[in-house]
Symmetry: D2
Subunit: 252 residues, 4 copies
């Protein structure tokens, strides 16, 4: 049997972080060697002998956390937001100096959601019509959701590349907003309902048929299989990968 992989968690006392600690402890092939909070020094990562660092902290500290890991030859799996193109550029410079190190920055660790988006992008060029419906709890402050926007953008790109015209729509009389919002020519509808968590449907329509790709996220813990997959795979993907789909095998 191979030795368990030594994993450290940064942001271990946060909501995502504490879930990650639990998930890593429960995985037979992983060994949690450090669980650091806000005030713990990063040097503990070295002392603990971490091979992979999971960063689930805050936008303010994620860049220096990841830089520390890379400089010390540790791979990093990052769920923290705030990685704009400037930060990504600096990280790539750093990775060029440490070519054996892998970093995964993933805005979404729910495997089903990542697969749903990937499938939607691949199906896009085969259908005359497409719309997106996302459904969330009523405390969400933005509409549409970031995932829905990203899905719509990828669909729009695939349609453009295939030379497809806009989805047909004969609407002449409409109440304001009935037809949803327009994201690069793709209509997106946002539903807010007590009881829901995070859900999304992509509806493709062609003559006489419909293809629907739906993802339901019922709990925050749905992110953990994706985090574990990232932890296990990051060592075999040197350099920077943005998006968990880069680690998924979608070939036949």
């Amino acid at each position: 049997m191979t030795q368990p992989l030594a994993v450290a968690v940064l942001g271990a006392s946060g909501r995502m972080g504490s879930e990650a600690v639990r998930a890593i402890e429960a995985a037979a092939d992983l060994h949690l060697v450090a669980a650091l909070g806000r005030k713990d020094p990063l040097e503990e990562l070295v002392a603990a002998g971490a091979a992979v660092v999971v960063d689930l902290t805050v936008p303010d500290s994620t860049e220096q956390n990841v830089a520390f890991a890379v400089e010390h030859g540790m791979h990093a799996v990052v769920g923290t937001t705030g990685w704009d193109s400037e930060r990504l550029g600096r990280l790539q410079d750093l990775l060029a100096l440490n070519p054996e190190v892998g970093v995964l920055i993933a805005p979404n660790f729910a495997l089903g959601s990542v697969l749903a988006t990937a499938f939607a992008a691949r199906a896009a060029k085969y259908f005359e019509s497409v719309e997106v419906i996302e459904l969330h709890h009523p405390n969400k402050v933005d509409a549409p959701s970031g995932t829905a926007e990203r899905t719509a953008v990828l669909i729009a790109e695939a349609r453009a590349e295939a030379g497809l015209a806009a989805s047909p729509d004969a609407t002449r009389t409409s109440r304001d907003g009935a037809r949803g919002c327009d994201v690069d020519g793709v209509r997106v509808h946002s539903v807010r309902l007590r009881g829901l968590v995070a859900h999304q449907e992509v509806l493709f329509g062609g003559v006489g048929e419909q293809l629907t790709i739906r993802h339901d996220s019922f709990h925050r813990e749905s992110f953990m299989p994706g985090v574990l997959l990232g932890v296990r795979e990051v060592g075999s993907h040197p350099g920077l990968t943005v998006g968990l789909d880069g680690y998924l095998d979608l070939q036949a």
Copy 2:
């Protein structure tokens, strides 16, 4: 065995009318005694001995057709649009003079759709959140659909009567139209997709649960069971009934 009911169809060469002719001919308890087109004189209804007249003509002629039927003691089942409050008023005056005659004016004969709307109205007061999604073929010119508007209005009335506040919604940043249109405080979303016919979902959300009432209309022929139910029942409902739900038994 009882004698078959003598039924006549007006507008028999139209799309709905020809379906109705077929459906009546196929029903063992009904006897088609006349199938009139635009230019056929209404007197043929009398000669044929029609007990029930099905009007599937056009807004311009429906009022005189129904008046003729009522004056000759025939019940009428009406699928033609164009019955505004003025016309309805004149019809009720006429029915007051012919108290044994029944008239059903139904904007929608799809049993499933009528039931879905009735159930949505009854469920409305038990849920904190509600939204409506209607989905149609892309040649539809109005959004939202008339059925969705009517459903939303009925839901809004039921909520108001029960003293419910608006569905919760923390949205602060939104693309135009993402949250759908507002029908009396109920959000309605209109999807247009090649391949679809006419579909509607009412989504109710409460703490930890969701109730969804969905209707799919795949074909125009879905209206025929409702037309036949109207034909069979109109004789037992003297006076004017608007909406097929008036004939449905929704008690336990």
Copy 3:
């Protein structure tokens, strides 16, 4: 303003009981006067002045708990299982002696689920075809679920009363189990899937149309609105009521 209703919870340290305690404490019109565990004497209910007793204990103790309440003039809302016809008979005898007391015994407090079943029973006679799909977490030991069985039985009764034949089915070659199980002539399918909680779809099919009534239970806390509705209403329903639907207003 009216005085809050004095409510006591039996089984207050159990999973359902502790949720009920929280829900009652959060309701402005209710006042939690007692929260009893297994070993607390029922006499505390009297001392506390409870007007309504919520029993969320175990089958072994529920009958004596409810009897105590009724004999002391307290209404009871009961979520505990184990009420067979013999127990119900004894309870009705007791209620005959205390005609002003109301008891609600509800196998299911999720409003959406109760409504879904009630709507399905009402829709049943209008459709040629019907099947039930229930979906649960994979730790469930019985299939189909009790709710699905009860829904199917009610549908079967409504179809029989309306003189409907069996749902059409031309299947000649079939793998064992493909067509689900048969509950009084209604096909029921049980899906078990990690990530799910408790979900049910009733599918009605007619010529060219489909009506779907779906309920999703995402959390145990979805039962609380139904418990509160029971607590508020039980005083106005003297005698025994089985099933929360007896308190729901399903008229137009």
Copy 4:
């Protein structure tokens, strides 16, 4: 502008064939040069100068039709069933002698259905649980559908390859058939409902999440975009391809 592709249809008077004739005539980049019925000699294909032959005939004649096409240097798109391994072997021998010719044999031309199956096979290894529900009109004689069986087999293969155990299932008490049928360890449920055509849902479940891939086929004409795609692509795929998914581009 490039010259339209010369296409011939065999079985042109059948249900599928006549749809294909219509679809090819409506496509600007295709030119229908022959539409042959059962008794028309195959030599007309040569006289008409067909570049692609669409075979939508019957199992008895499809092999000789395709052989004729291949021997005359025409590509073939085949929707007829009955191609067992023996026939396929003979066809491959023939294609070895005509290496520039392409033949597509597709059991299913609905693009959405083919994509749904392909996506399900790719998603299979990422989820702990999976079940398949297929829903059809009540005149279907077999259960489950061929597409559902094939989908389940592909899912089972992907799970086996990834070393996944069976989907978790704690069922101890069950009515016969409740848990569906077992196709290589994957549970499949068959629903039969008046009003439906052909529909399929693949449900994947993981901790806290669900991925659903659904396809609805509302009309036979839904096969035509797939037939046209086959016609346009077959010339660039010399040799034998079984399944339209071989022509689909599922890479990012």
